[in-house]
Amino acid sequence: MTEQRFLKIRDLTIQYTSGGQIIKAVNGVNLDLDEGKTLALVGETGAGKTTIAKSILQILPHPQSKVVSGSIELNGEDMIKASEERLRQIRGSEIAMIFQDPMTSLNPVMTVGDQIAEVIEHHQDSTDKSAIDRAREMLELVGIPGDRIKEYPHQFSGGMKQRVVIAMALACNPKLLLADEPTSALDVTIQAQVLEMIAKLRDQFNTSMVLITHDLGIVAEAADTVAIIYAGEVLEYGNKEQIFHRPQHPYTKGLFGAIPNLYVKARRLHNIEGLPPDPTNLPVGCCFAPRCPYAREDCKTTKFEAHEVEPGHLCSCAYAEHLED
């Protein structure tokens, strides 16, 4: 895979230092994304999904985090190697991010209009007036009356705040949108609205998206390709259909198994035994081995490379095809 893709992440390894300990957050991640498509990063809390997303924008906290190795190429340009100035140009205009909690994502002491206009002014040489006008347009676009640009975030409900955040993110028409669990903090009905709107805008502007979520339902709705992240590694990668209908990795299977089935009466939900590993003390060998019901002797000692089980479908479990044995 050496041709230029829209987004190409290779061998990304990121570590945090805290209190003298090294936290291995991301360990050798490889991901691809085509233009106009949506990649879903799925995994439990703490798997490293947000870290990967933030590292694309290079907004990880400075002294504590370190990109040990790897590359993140957007249209051939490596974000990791880019200068701070160049990154500032990219942030907000070529790549934008929306975060999980809308309640705290907006600056409480600035009007929403100012916050949206800010990103416009920063990236496009526009006068004050036209930036505000564009902000108004964006609000209308996300279904909020344009007059509300003068209002403050506390005057909006959670769902509307998230829409403002989306308006802000898309104001400069970015090529890539990073959405970190955009609907996790919202209730289900609003969730649907927001997702719908994201989809609409994405189609309208042909924006590529990296969608982080732990909700497989959302993945089913919105994603084109899916990557299963666990302990900072990609355990399985493929398109939606491949992952949903033919999951290969024991972890993936476990995830699907945990989804309650409407038609089957079950007393308890299936869960995966055990807990995710301590990132300061990752297991030698396969990171999932301690919890894997199919684990074999060499799983605990050898790290396996991801291999292709079918075209475009990668899995890092060496025994994926022979699990039943």
Partner: protein, 311 residues
């Protein structure tokens, strides 16, 4: 908003009445007889009693209290038992000095302390942070009067750059302001630092960064306004502290302000001065607190909404 201000001002009235009653009662019950002090050591008991009657000190408590409140309402605070000079006149002359000292001190404390705190917060864990924290520790540890005397030793005695005592020119205010500022800067810097650190961790700061804003914009346009709230609170508290503690600075530098006026009066049981000074300071505090609360509203629209709406 206007209604809020009006309500606050109206609330000041019962507060001040309460303060007046309290200070009157306290001075009434504290032992020590101004008449005895005025007449001196050789006075006989009947002489002291006669003077007390003349001064109205033998009247029943409520009568005296009523008289005091009634006069106070007409801004008549009487004259000093000792010098005979009308209290309101002395206060009018001394007030500007104390308030000038106070506000200058406040201003410089903020001017130096807040940026230092911000600097420390943005350079957390690095040499800059440690240096600022060391400076803060220094300022907080050394008492103001020690600082004052050290400054006098260096700048007046050895270098002859600045006058050691008194008032008169702007030069006379430099050392006193410096002495009170140094102690305050430490606290302010630490507070600003911790407030900023907390705010910097907020999600909306990450949002701001992700919009591609310059770090300076992120700190000063997004973080600082939010970090201001606790800083403003401490500014108000600091001002209160300065007015109360001004006595020490005023004594060391022989600045005739309200602080020394009040302390001398307390020692002499010069009631009119004590009552009037306390009331005046209470008024000053209330106004300062009002200003601080209004500043909140100015900085944080949520609070502004609360003032306009709820009250």
């Amino acid at each position: 908003m206007g209604r809020y201000i009006r309500n606050r001002l109206l609330w000041m009235i019962p507060v001040l009445i309460g303060v007046a009653v309290m200070i009157f009662s306290i001075m009434y019950f504290v032992p020590g007889d101004p008449a005895a002090i005025i007449l001196g050591k050789e006075a006989e008991e009947w002489e002291i009693l006669a003077l007390r009657q003349e001064m109205g000190l033998e009247d029943p408590f409520l009568v005296q209290l009523g008289r005091f409140l009634w006069n106070a309402l007409h801004l008549n605070f009487g004259e000093s038992y000792f010098t005979g000079i009308p209290v309101i006149q002395e206060i009018a002359m001394r007030m500007p000095r104390t308030t000038l000292l106070g506000f200058l001190s406040m201003f410089f404390t903020m001017l130096v302390g807040v940026p230092l705190g911000i600097y420390a917060a943005t350079h957390r864990g690095q040499l800059g942070d440690s240096a600022v924290m060391a400076l803060a520790l220094f300022g907080v540890s050394f008492p103001a009067f020690w600082m004052a005397l050290m400054l006098v030793l260096v700048f007046s005695l050895r270098l002859h750059w600045l006058p050691a005592t008194g008032i008169g020119s702007w030069k006379h205010y430099v050392l006193p302001v410096l002495a009170s500022t140094i102690s305050g800067v430490g606290t302010q810097a630490r507070l600003a630092r911790s407030s900023m650190l907390e705010v910097i961790r907020s999600d909306y700061i990450t949002t701001a960064r992700s919009k591609g804003l310059k770090e300076r914009e992120v700190i000063y346009k997004h973080a600082l306004p939010n970090a201001l709230l606790p800083i403003l609170t401490s500014a108000g508290a600091r001002l209160a502290h300065i007015f109360g503690g001004s006595t020490v600075i005023e004594t060391v530098f022989s600045i005739p302000g309200i602080g020394t006026y009040m302390i001398n009066a307390v020692n002499n049981r010069d009631y009119p001065i004590v009552r009037a000074s306390v009331l005046v300071l209470a008024i000053l505090f209330s106004l300062v607190m009002l200003l601080v609360d209004l500043a909140y509203a100015f900085v944080d629209p949520r609070i502004k909404a609360r003032y306009a709406g709820a009250k």
